[in-house]
Subunit: 340 residues, 2 copies
Amino acid sequence: MDDRFLRACRLEPVDRTPVWFMRQAGRYLPEYRALREGRDVLALCRSPELAVEATLQPLRRMPLDAAILFSDIMVPVAEMGADVRIEPGAGPFVREPVRAPADVGRLRPLEPEADVPHVLDAIRLLRKELSVPLIGFAGAPFTLASYLVEGGPSRNHERTKALMHGDEATWGALMRLLGDATAAYLRAQVEAGAQAVQVFDSWVGALDPEDYRRFVLPTMRRVFGSLAGLGVPAIHFGVGTGELLALLREAGAGVIGVDWRGPLDVAWDRVGSDVAVQGNLDPAVCLAPWEAVRAKALGVLDRAAGRPGHVFNLGHGVLPGTPPETMERLVDLVHERTVR
Amino acid sequence: MDDRFLRACRLEPVDRTPVWFMRQAGRYLPEYRALREGRDVLALCRSPELAVEATLQPLRRMPLDAAILFSDIMVPVAEMGADVRIEPGAGPFVREPVRAPADVGRLRPLEPEADVPHVLDAIRLLRKELSVPLIGFAGAPFTLASYLVEGGPSRNHERTKALMHGDEATWGALMRLLGDATAAYLRAQVEAGAQAVQVFDSWVGALDPEDYRRFVLPTMRRVFGSLAGLGVPAIHFGVGTGELLALLREAGAGVIGVDWRGPLDVAWDRVGSDVAVQGNLDPAVCLAPWEAVRAKALGVLDRAAGRPGHVFNLGHGVLPGTPPETMERLVDLVHERTVR
């Protein structure tokens, strides 16, 4: 098996820099759009066969070094009792937002084998098909909480922040519930066969370090602590986390995923050279002509050159308008330019 | 006149830390909502009397140390030929986005006295009413270009980045045009009586430092350079600019406005202690109970304590759901806690 992804996560020597892309199975692929046609995203996630198909699509096009389970971060909270719908192009919406203790009480703890058997089945099926490692994933408690509290995507996360600052007990109860669910969900994915996990705290960069330390870090330490004995790499990813990197490191994952805003070597210095880093090409640049993409990608590789522990990725998910050919060429470029 | 705002901008000693709020005239005020009722934002901006009224509303409630002209960053581009509409709660939309050389050609250079006389009239009227300094403002070329190229608000600015990377000549022509317009617009505002100016590059934090240096910095240097001889402080503000602060300093403004993501003293160290800083309370926190707001505000003041050159502000505009009483108490808190 191609294990350079797992080796890089563990800071071990690799023959080439491994590369995969967040949302590599997504709307930029015509075959994914065909699979989605007329189907709800959550329905797609709930069918093991369709989730397997979506997961495999990008791997048929390009020699990616890891697969990531096709799913949505809202899948477990939907099974915990939240009334979630995913609007194409807009994101998740929650019908009755969580803003008071009783709203937290409406959510049940997650029991993965009973609540998300389709996810675990998809993982078991994928392991039979794949020749590269399979990454399981979950949304992080803050990001899940933001959708639950705001009721949908939010630019400012103001209701979430008002809740954490205004009703710390309710916030704490929500984070405990989501932290337990996230940990149980990831453990179940690993037991089903996932060989690494990524936790998406996509919107946590909206917090300042003080609030992160007080309202989020304890839960993240528990999540990563509960994964520590499983022997699989854990990746901790967020957008706009430049000022939080030292705290993300404290959370305990072995790999920190960073966005494109800071140069990769600067980010790596902030998290420490004893953890691996994943990133960090600007996904928006991938809509530009190839020569521009190439130049920016080489810049990322330059900043990681000579250090073990770099997993090449974008700084966020592949955008819908991206030409698939660009992503294919990018995989080849990374492999060609990093032969050890 | 209360000139502690201007003194702080110039790093001179002040009797108390000055305070004003971005979007202090805005939807969180019931009297503003009444003024807006049934009126288009651009229509409001085009009426000197109504713009004066909106500008003055927050000053009747609280002893702010500066007024900021009520207007919208899209006002000048609308007069340059872009078909702009502002959708309440959503932002500016542009009917025919700028994506090719001919689209840039459709925009005329701005002639402030002919194109935006209402703005200059509002400034002249305000100077007769005000006992605190009046801040003029403009959108920065990158942020204006993003609206023009994307056609509306954007999370990823992908078309903007594709244009800058894919057609540097067109990007350069657009930035020159917008840079000239921004500089002319601000100069005219100062000539009409504005005692300071703020340039809002709200979304420039979406760029990495390399792209900022290449595609934006030269224009910003020209803009601030053209203001240098006017003898008024210039404030340069953006959101999510933690990794760009050293470059914002190079752009040349004497005051750098920062968001809440980084601690104020950390941001100040990055821009240098010989420039003033403005910020940086998280606006979303202002929706929480007063005790939480108070604690966070005192944290900001602590990080600026003992240094000249701090203008207290939020890290972005006042959010619509903010209780006006919170902002009133905040002004008093800043003044009470910073008596020299």
